[in-house]
């Protein structure tokens, strides 16, 4: 039998987690309004499908962006040969302006300090390779994106030590939680290299507040460690004025001329804001020259296609378009979120108050048979197989309290969202007994008559 490496045979790829299992079940029986109306509705995928029409109409008006320039185009050859890991200058220039626009221009970015990577998945891993040795640790607030277990740890050998956040204060990061996590790392003989925050948060859908910034920044300063801020959801904030980038937070505290400035690293991507996960456009931004130099070379292992860089440089270069897109996209996301929140609320299922993201953090604790993760798994399976919704259980996000679920709302049509709310409502009212099956049937039959208009 062939021997493969430890990395190949271990479980750090994380694919045995419920996050991926739910996905697999969905693939076996995917909902389709016409061909499979009883199928599983995918609510475990944080995709933004709400604003494609805006992109499509831009493309229709600007065919040259994909056609390699029909006007004397030697652009094809130029692009085909362009594999410089510094990236296409025009693209980077437009990209940093777009990032600034999302941050209300409170922060300006220098394209020379930007490294392009094949998605934020690649950016996050690259940062770990650059900031930590195998066996060293990063502290991450729970609950967190399940993919981090693979992205940050698998090939890098870096460890994650959780910063436990609790529903008692809305899952906000506290000084006590940071200290506790650090002590835990010491007990495990792990050297802590940094704190990794996601802002806006996945799965919470909340933006970091000033208290949290105070705690995280003081902590990183006093421990002399890095802060990585994954800001891929920055463009999904319903109200721009409520989002503060880590860079702005540092500047607000007049710390730009101090040590910490070169230990702040931002990750971003166009997968969530623009809804283009297939195009693999990620980036690392940092004021640390050594880091940028190393990460740039490492990006050789995951460069962005020059064809795609070119298309996006044209799209993002249209400022009128981007400004309109950002606003309209936010408006639609907010509206969608309200549909889900109010729909669940009306049947006694509360959501964490959120102001960003493509999902809600839903409190289903009162549906658990007991306050235990086994009960959460039981509930998750019922919702997956009986109700036909693939949602993400809090345990897959390392939440310390059972009963919370991440439910996505932006990767489906309005009708499908309404149907999923109905299915859940039916489940709740039936209390999970035999009546449920009949409810589900009548829901399908009367679906077209009883759609809630929001």
């Amino acid at each position: 039998m062939e021997m493969l490496s430890k990395k190949a045979t271990c479980k750090s790829h994380g694919q045995d987690s419920s996050y991926f299992l739910g996905w697999q079940e969905y693939e076996k029986n995917p909902f389709n309004e016409d061909t499979n109306p009883l199928g599983i509705i995918q609510m475990g995928l944080a995709e933004n499908q709400l604003s494609f029409d805006l992109l499509e109409s831009w493309l229709a008006r600007n065919p040259d962006a994909t056609m390699f320039g029909s006007n004397g185009g030697s652009i094809f050859k130029e692009l085909a040969l362009f594999q410089d890991y510094h990236g296409l200058q025009t693209f980077k220039t437009e990209l940093v302006e777009f990032m600034a626009e999302i941050r209300r221009n409170k922060v300006r970015f220098d394209p020379q300090k930007l490294v392009l990577t094949a998605g934020a998945t690649s950016a996050n891993e690259t940062l770990m390779f650059c900031l930590a040795e195998p066996g060293e640790a990063f502290l991450i607030p729970t609950p967190y994106y399940p993919g981090f277990d693979r992205d940050l740890k698998w090939r890098t050998g870096v460890k994650i030590v959780p910063i436990h956040c609790s529903s008692l204060n809305g899952f906000r990061i506290t000084k006590a939680a940071l200290d506790e996590a650090y002590d835990e790392a010491l007990k495990l003989n792990l050297r802590v290299k940094g704190v990794f925050i996601t802002n806006p948060s996945n799965p919470l859908g909340t933006t970091m507040n000033q208290d949290e910034f105070n705690h995280v920044i003081s902590f990183a300063v006093s421990k002399n460690i890095h802060i990585v801020s994954d800001e891929i959801y920055a463009g999904t904030v319903f109200d721009s004025s409520k989002f503060t980038s880590i860079i702005e937070a540092i500047m607000d505290r007049t710390l730009e001329k101090t040590d910490i400035w070169s230990r702040i690293h931002v990750v971003s991507s166009l997968s969530k804001d623009l809804g283009l996960p297939g195009f693999r456009i990620g980036m690392i931004y940092s004021n640390n020259e050594t880091l940028i130099a190393a990460a740039t070379k490492m990006s050789s292992f995951g460069l962005v296609s020059s064809q795609t860089q070119y298309l996006l440089s044209k799209l993002l270069g249209d400022k009128k378009f981007t400004r309109h897109y950002i606003q309209e996209n936010q408006r639609r996301l907010k509206k969608r979120q309200q549909v889900l929140v109010s729909g669940l609320q009306s049947y006694g299922i509360p959501c964490l108050k959120s102001n960003a993201g493509l999902f809600c953090w839903v409190d289903m604790r009162n549906l658990l048979s007991s306050n235990a993760f086994e009960a959460e798994m039981e509930l998750w399976k019922k919702i997956l197989y009986e109700v036909g919704l693939n949602i993400s259980p809090g345990s897959s996000c390392h939440c310390t309290e059972p009963g919370w679920f991440r439910v996505c709302f932006a990767n489906m049509s309005q009708e499908t969202l309404n149907l999923s709310i109905h299915r859940l409502q039916a489940f709740v009212t039936s209390n999970g007994d035999g009546n449920y099956q009949n409810q589900k049937l009548s829901t399908r039959i009367s679906r077209r008559n009883s759609l809630v208009v929001s």
Partner: protein, 444 residues
Amino acid sequence: MGVEFEQQPSVELSKVAVSDTHGEDSPYFAGWKAYDEDPYDESRNPSGVIQMGLAENQVSFDLLEEYLEKHSEAASFGNKISSFRENALFQDYHGLQSFRKAMASFMEQIRGGRAKFDPDRVVITAGATAANELVTFILANPGDALLVPTPYYPGFDRDLRWRTGVNIVPVHCDSSNNFQITIQALEAAYADAVSKNIKVRGVLITNPSNPLGATIQRSVLEDILDFVISKNIHLVSDEIYSGSAFFSGEFVSIAEVLEARNYQDSERVHIVYSLSKDLGLPGFRVGTIYSYNDKVVTTARRMSSFTLISSQTQQLLASMLSDKDFTEKYIRINRERLKNRYHMIIDGLRNRGIECLEGNAGLFCWMNLSPLLKERKKESELALWKSILYEVKLNISPGSSCHCSEPGWFRVCFANMTERTLEIALQRIHDFMEIKKENDVQQQ
């Protein structure tokens, strides 16, 4: 037992981040620097440095451009705007099925139909650079080794070793038998690793070879396969130059050898391919790993999350490569043009008294300047290289950068420029050789 860690005044980056295994601090980068500072341009800078160190294929762009003009929908998401949405959302690490099918069929066409490829075994990666690193992560643990025949592509030092922590143990080849890989050389390398307590995980060959510009003979492939079987290790065959073999029949893929053996022992074989050389599209980042081992395919697919190909690019290439008329024509004409370029440079060099290794593939020739060396030493080779760089103003790659154990050989690229530029390069070499002859005469 708790250990206290002292936090230094400024927290460092990782060892990987600050190491020089990326290879960019090597003396050969002086070549890139000299070119960047004074790049040749036919009209604007005719006395500048000519770049002959970059293995790019620029001889067949017109064929691609012609295709794109005739099939503009391939690049523009077709006439159905809704396919943009589907494409933009597609981040499945299996890759677009249409793309995998097209890649598999293209690889079959390159091999004249002598090997079959299953699209479900095609794993996508952003370029062969990523594919080679990924395969290394899967096959070897930090501290283990891959055996790599010399001379080899300098980038391997970074791609196979940097982040993986894996070692390269060289399998020395020399001109006594045209640099062919021998069993003795493989055994010697293996023994060398064992003596250093290093666990060998596999052999990585490049076929056709970079920098030799020659295909590996079938009998040698059989020997290599038998060797890896006997040691119970893996074989990675980097076949990124397969489409640039001048005569289709002369390139034998390891896939053909496996097929002839009825796929016995195939689960230890993995092929790396890319469109960067054959189609001249390095900017689009299109690489693949093709493995006969199910576990490797599954694991590689998961790992490819870190290095997926843009779905926009997959779509374009799926269209292009599934057009069998186009690919047949492209493969044929591309081979022909590369062959002509090769003969042009070989004949041109021979007329100036310079011999090259007999090649039959690739975008470069392996030039023998050892008669010009003062001493058969690396230092002399470097000195000669510098004078060619700064006096003749040609950036070529010295054999030592490819870990060649025999000084005096140089890799010279010929497909990344116009014919006119190649003529000028040959003229410069002619002048250089004339001056050398005079100097030698004077010294006598």
